[in-house]
Symmetry: C2
Subunit: 346 residues, 2 copies
C-alpha cells in the first residue's frame, strides 16, 4: 500500500514492470509508448494513488506551469470577477493560476511578488496596488518572466497593459448626461496619482468641451474609490451653488455611495439628480434605481489578458501589444428623464 511517504514514479515503474523513464513518458502522454504498456502503467498509477510531484518536475523543466495573478483588492467584486475570468482560461490551458491579494498595499505586493518568484512562476498578471513604483516589476521582466498589467497602468512603465478604454467610457457617459439636458455635471472620486483617474477625468472634460460647456474645476472632486468616498464626494458637490444636477462617478462603488448620500439629503437618484457609474458591476442592475454605468467587459478583459500571457509564455517573450478593451454605456434608470423635456412639459 501507499504508506510511508508518497508513491513516486519509481514505485509505479516497479509495479508495472517498466523503467521510470517509461512511466515518465506515459505521464506526458508520449506517443512513443506502446498502447498496452501505457495502459499497464496507468493501471499501476491508479492503484497506488500516485500524485504527480510538480516541484520535482519543474526542477528539470525549462519553466513551470504556474502563473501568478496579483490583485489589488479581491474583496471588490469587480476585481474578483477579473481574477475569476483569468483563472478559467489558465485552468483550461493546463496551467495553474495562483491568486494573491495585495489589499492596495505596495508592501504586501512586494512580499507576494517574492513568494511567487520563489515558487518559480512562468508569468505574472498584475493589477498594481495604489502607489506602486513604476519599476517595481522591472526586475521580474528583465529576468525573462513575462508580466502584464491589467486594469491599471503605471505611468512610465514599458510593461504591456490590458485595460479598458477609460477616456472613451467617461466621454460616452458624460455625453449621455449632457444629452439629458444637464449642464452642471460633477466628477466624483479618484486621485490624480492614478493613471486611470486622468483618463476618466480626461474623457469627462472632453465631452464637456465638445458641447461647449465650460468645465468648472470645483466640480471635479477627488476621493476614495469606494462607497464611503462616494458619500463624502457628493456632499462636497452639493455644497456648491449652483449645485450640480448630475454626477459622473469614478466607478460604481463611488456611484452607490453617492446615491446613498443623495437620499440622505432628500434627493432621489434618477429623479431630481442623475448618476452614472463606471465598471458595471453585477450589482448595478439590481440596485434601486438600476445604475447607468460604463460596462468594461471585465471577464472579457481578464480572458484577453490571460490569453496574451499564454502566448508570451509559449513564445518566450516579455513583450506584447497593449490592449485597449472596448467599452459600452449601459443605460438604466439612475439618470432619469430628459430634464429639458421635463421642464418643457411642466
Amino acid at each position: 500500500m501507499a504508506s510511508r511517504g508518497k508513491a513516486t514514479i519509481l514505485d509505479i515503474a516497479r509495479k508495472a514492470g517498466v523503467s521510470k523513464s517509461t512511466v515518465s513518458l506515459v505521464l506526458q502522454g508520449s506517443a512513443l509508448i506502446r498502447p498496452e504498456t501505457a495502459l499497464r502503467v496507468r493501471k499501476a498509477i491508479e492503484e497506488v494513488g500516485y500524485v504527480y510531484n510538480r516541484g520535482a518536475a519543474n526542477l528539470r523543466k525549462a519553466h513551470s506551469n504556474v502563473v501568478g495573478m496579483v490583485i489589488n483588492d479581491l474583496t471588490n467584486p469587480f476585481f474578483a470577477e477579473l481574477a475569476v475570468g483569468m483563472e478559467r482560461v489558465f485552468q483550461s490551458a493546463g496551467i495553474v493560476p495562483f491568486i494573491a491579494n495585495t489589499a492596495e498595499s505596495p508592501v504586501r505586493q512586494g512580499e507576494v511578488l517574492k513568494s511567487l518568484m520563489e515558487q518559480g512562476v512562468a508569468g505574472l498578471i498584475v493589477s498594481p496596488a495604489h502607489g506602486t513604483s513604476p519599476d517595481a516589476f522591472e526586475h521580474v521582466r528583465s529576468a525573462g518572466i513575462p508580466v502584464i498589467f491589467t486594469m491599471r497602468r503605471l505611468s512610465g512603465s514599458r510593461i504591456p497593459v490590458v485595460v479598458p478604454d477609460n477616456p472613451r467610457g467617461a466621454f460616452l457617459a458624460t455625453r449621455h448626461l449632457i444629452g439629458k439636458g444637464h449642464r452642471r455635471i460633477a466628477f466624483l472620486g479618484g486621485f490624480p496619482d492614478m493613471v486611470v483617474y486622468h483618463e476618466r477625468v480626461g474623457g469627462y472634460r472632453e465631452a464637456l468641451a465638445a458641447h461647449g460647456i465650460a468645465a468648472d474645476e470645483a466640480l471635479v472632486i477627488q476621493g476614495d474609490t469606494n462607497r464611503k468616498g462616494g458619500m463624502s464626494a457628493i456632499d462636497t458637490a452639493l455644497a456648491f451653488s449652483p449645485a450640480p444636477t448630475a454626477a459622473m462617478c469614478f466607478n460604481d462603488a463611488v456611484a452607490f455611495g453617492a446615491m446613498t448620500g443623495l437620499r440622505k439629503r432628500g434627493l432621489e437618484p434618477g429623479g431630481n439628480f442623475a448618476i452614472v457609474g463606471f465598471d458595471d458591476v453585477a450589482e448595478a442592475q439590481h440596485y434601486m434605481p438600476a445604475l447607468t454605468s460604463v460596462a468594461v467587459d471585465t471577464a472579457g478583459l481578464g480572458e484577453r489578458a490571460a490569453h496574451t500571457m499564454l502566448n508570451m509564455i509559449r513564445a518566450g517573450t516579455t513583450c506584447a501589444e497593449n490592449h485597449i478593451g472596448a467599452i459600452s454605456l449601459i443605460v438604466r434608470d439612475s439618470c432619469g428623464p430628459d430634464i429639458t423635456e421635463a421642464r418643457r412639459s411642466a
Copy 2:
C-alpha cells in the same frame, strides 16, 4: 553577471568563497554560522539578485510551505473577505497561501484539488462547492494532509470545521422579527442539500416554536442563494394568503433580492414589510434601507481557520476541534418599527 539561467546557491557559494552548505545555512538563518561569514554571504546574494528556489527545497524538506484555500465563490464578497482574512494570517506566518475558486462546481473543485496536491500543499482550507460528495476530501486527509472545512460542512464527513453558529443566528433574527410583532414570517432561499440550510431553517423554526407560533411550511421557500433567488422567493411568498409580513433570508444576497422584489410590488422594506439577512456583508450597512443582519465575523472565522491550520501543520495531525463561531444580530432599518405598537397608535 546573472545571465543564462538563474543564479543558484552554488554561484553564491563561489562568490562568497564558502561551500553551498554554508549558504544554505545562512538562508535558513542558522545560528551556527559566524556572523561575519553570514554577512559576506548575504552580500553575495544581494549582488547576484539570487532568488530562492522553493521547488528544489521542498523536494528535500518534509513538507512544503504552501497551503491551498479552495473557495466556492470568490465573486461573492462574503467569501472573498474570508479568503483575504485567511491569507493575511498565512502570509505573516511565512507560509504561502494559494487562493483557488471553484465557482460552485464540484468538477472544477476536483481539478483545483488535483493541482494543489501536485504542488504539494501542506494543508487545505475548503469552503466546499455546492454538491460536493462527503468523501471528496477523504483521500487528501488520509494522505496525512490536514484539511479544514469552513463556512459549510458536509454531512457525514469527519473533517474538522470552522463555521458560524447558524442555528443561533437564525434563532436570534427570527426572534427579533417576532419581537416586532410579526406572526407570519417567511424563510427565503437555500436548498435542503446544504447542511447550512437545515441549521438556519432549524433556528428559525425553533424561534417560532419558542413563541408558540405554528410554523406554516408553505412559508419556507427554497431558492438560489443569490439576489435572483431572493427576488423570486419573495414573489412566491407574497402569493400566499394571508401574506407574510416579514422574511428571514438565507443570506444577505437573498435579502437584497427580496427587497428589490418588494419595491417592484409597491411594498417598502423596513416600512410595511420586515427583512432580516444573514452574513452582514459590507454592503448591508450602506443599503437603503440599511439591512438588519446576522453578523458572522467573517474575517475572524477566516483567521481562526488559518490559525487552526497552522497548528495542525506544526503538530503534523489531521485532527482538530470543530469551531463554532459566535454570531450577533446587527439591528438596522430593514425591519421597521414594532407593528403592534404601530397598530395600537393608529
